[in-house]
């Protein structure tokens, strides 16, 4: 019996059933505002999974926010009705939401392909700077084309649906995001285990070594860039579907940096667990502090004499502090820390600390 319990397929079925139960239970336990927080967390987990796929190849991307914007606003244009903006008319083709999602994801892949002549030549920190350039470019386009971005006030995002289903209320949206997140993370796991993943690992270990082994450097990198762009795009669409409105300023410098930092704090060596942990920290620290910071000593909403810091400051310090502390004490990220506790799968610990950066 104990052998059956420990066998691979059984554990997989158990884990799958467990996830289904949790996903079913969550909206019945937590209230709407917490459901919103958890939905956002899973959304960012998808984005970070895409980031991690790139990191497997030793490439640090600071362009995730740009591809989130491409996905989110692309979906708004394709599926929106045109009158759906907050303050001004925007473009909208009014396609069915399902077609809109596929179109927006294809758009992300296409933009990533256009970027790949630059991207596939770069690695490490050069890629980081180049992809940051995409974010600056994206902000410029959104600022100057209010027909897409809806200006400062942003644009309303139509509810996701298709095949007779419509995910319009928060609980339905949670099911949608949780389901897509599970599929996306599982698929990311498979990408890393696939031929492409092996090629990326070889590139990370040494580009020349990889080429000698027959890896086509640039096509492997191009594949990773496109995959991570599609993941970020899906994250952007779902973020829009969750919040209902997308504002151009969201997808700026700080978001893209925080996604990268928190994904690495989560641990890029394990694609799924690292993304989940990173997303939790990204969303939960500011959320918890904005709710409960006033309970801490020396913190107060109003700038009184007895208070030292505003809650926003505490959030920023804690945020920065977590990044610094994790990088100093455990540069491979929190996921590998947990794995060491469980003492399992030693193979997967070859994470960030060991990988060499070439640039």
């Amino acid at each position: 019996m104990s052998e059956l319990l420990r066998s691979g397929p059984f554990r997989k079925i158990l884990a799958f059933t467990g996830m289904l139960v949790v996903a079913w239970l969550v909206p019945r336990i937590v209230d709407t505002s917490w459901l919103f927080v958890l939905t956002t967390t899973l959304t960012f987990a998808i984005v970070m999974a895409g980031f991690n796929v790139l990191m497997v190849g030793g490439v640090l991307s600071l362009g995730q926010a740009f591809f989130m914007a491409v996905g989110g606003f692309g979906y708004a244009v394709l599926a929106g009705e045109g009158s759906g903006s907050v303050s001004r008319p925007v473009l909208g083709f009014g396609l069915p939401p399902f077609v809109g999602i596929l179109g927006a994801l294809a758009l992300c892949g296409l933009v990533a392909l256009l970027f790949s002549p630059v991207a596939s030549r770069l690695s490490g920190l050069s890629f980081a700077a180049a992809s940051l350039g995409l974010v600056v470019l994206g902000q410029h386009i959104l600022d100057n084309v209010p027909e897409i971005s809806g200006g400062i006030a942003g644009v309303r995002i139509p509810a996701v649906g298709g095949f007779g289903l419509l995910f319009s209320n928060p609980r339905q949206n949670w099911y949608l995001v949780a389901g897509l997140c599970a599929v996306a993370l599982a698929y990311a796991h498979n990408i890393v285990k696939s031929r492409l993943g092996l090629a990326l690992k070889a590139i990370s270990a040494g580009p020349i070594f990889a080429e000698v082994m027959g890896v086509r450097l640039r096509s492997a990198r191009r594949g990773a860039v496109v995959a991570s762009a599609v993941y970020a795009g899906l994250g952007g669409i779902l973020l829009g579907a969750t919040t209902g409105v997308l504002v151009p300023d969201t997808f700026g410098f700080s978001l893209t940096i925080e996604i990268a930092a928190m994904a690495i704090v989560g641990g890029t060596g394990s694609v799924v667990l690292g993304a989940l942990i990173g997303a939790c920290i990204l969303v939960l620290i500011p959320e918890l502090l904005s709710r409960y910071a006033s309970l801490l000593p020396l913190v107060s909403e109003n700038q009184g004499a007895a208070s030292w810091m505003a809650p926003g400051s505490v959030s920023a310090y804690l945020y920065g502090g977590v990044i610094v502390a994790v990088m100093i004490f455990h540069p491979a990220g929190l996921a590998s820390f947990l794995k060491r506790f469980r003492g399992s799968s030693r193979r997967e610990r070859a994470g960030l600390g060991e990988s060499r950066m070439t640039s």
């Binding site: 920190l125 600056v136 470019l137 410029h140 945020y319 502090g321």
Partner: protein
């Protein structure tokens, strides 16, 4: 024509400041293989500090601020970078992102939403040169950058510590065998970078800029395409990249009405597009070396 001269010289002035920022980034990159994302926050803190003590005589205030910046960088190096010397590269880079978030919040609490006025001893006067109107501050900034670069180049080339620095960044393992302490070299690089950060921070917060404000980190960020254009591991490249970025920005801003079809504020995007073009043809930047890694 007079416009062209004016834009060119103010472009060089701005570019030399970007060049100094990029130089300090390149120094840190060479010594610790790290892209220092905390640069923007360090610039505001430096400018804020010198603004606080600006009632003192200029030379004294500047020296004290320089000492403060060097000390700050040494503390960062000692407390955060030195424990991580075994994980050169990405972990330290990510660590500096954490530093940036924290230090930026410190700066935001200090500076706030306001613009703190800062007045340079050379004032806000302008001179006429070949029909162009130029702020004296631009000329001072070009001269300062020139002096600093020549001094730094001479130090790197002729002084004992310069040789140590070059050997340690060129062949770290070999230098270590010859008795060079890599941690000391890293500390030195961060300290010099701290000083080099203060100068552009000062010039970018005095006339023609209105004063110390939280827009400084964003300006500092524009040195990022500069260092990539020049090549991450090249000190000369950083300066060339800085000049190219500064001039691109000034031309695009000056002739904004001619390029209005590209949208408003295109001068912010221009340097990044220039970077894309350079990377397309030279993936390691203009003067960067392609790293030969052993199989």
């Amino acid at each position: 024509m007079s416009h062209l001269i004016q834009y060119t010289i103010s472009g060089i002035a701005l570019g030399s400041m970007y060049g100094l920022i990029a130089l300090s980034l390149a120094l840190i990159y060479k010594a610790t293989n790290t892209l220092n994302f905390a640069q923007g926050a360090l610039m505001v803190l430096g400018a804020f500090f010198i603004q606080k003590i600006s009632s003192m005589p200029f030379i004294l205030a500047f020296l004290i601020a320089a000492a403060f910046m060097v000390l700050l960088m040494l503390v960062i190096q000692w407390a955060f970078v030195a424990p991580m010397m075994d994980h050169l590269g990405l972990p330290i880079t990510v660590m500096t992102i954490g530093l940036e978030i924290g230090l930026l919040e410190v700066a935001r609490n200090a500076v706030g939403d306001s613009i703190l006025p800062l007045r340079a001893p050379w004032g806000s006067g302008v001179v006429d040169f070949a029909g162009a109107t130029l702020p004296i501050a631009s000329i001072v900034s070009i001269c300062t950058a020139l002096v600093l670069i020549v001094a730094f180049g001479a130090w790197l080339r002729y002084s004992k510590w310069g040789v140590v620095f070059r050997s340690a960044t060129d062949r770290p393992r070999v230098a270590e065998l010859f008795g060079v302490r890599l941690k000391a070299v890293a500390a030195l690089a961060w300290a010099i970078a701290g000083f080099l950060t203060l100068v552009p921070a000062y010039f970018l917060s005095t006339f023609p800029a209105p004063g110390v404000s939280m827009s400084l980190p964003g300006i500092g960020l524009r040195a990022l395409p500069a260092i990539i254009i020049g090549g991450l591991d090249s000190l000369q490249g950083a300066l060339i990249g800085g000049l190219m970025v500064g001039m691109t920005e000034t031309y695009l801003q000056g002739y904004a009405s001619d390029v209005s079809f590209l949208g408003s504020n295109f001068h912010i995007v221009g340097p990044y597009l220039l970077m894309f073009v350079v990377l397309l043809f030279r993936p390691h930047g203009l003067l960067g070396t392609s790293e030969v890694s052993r199989v």
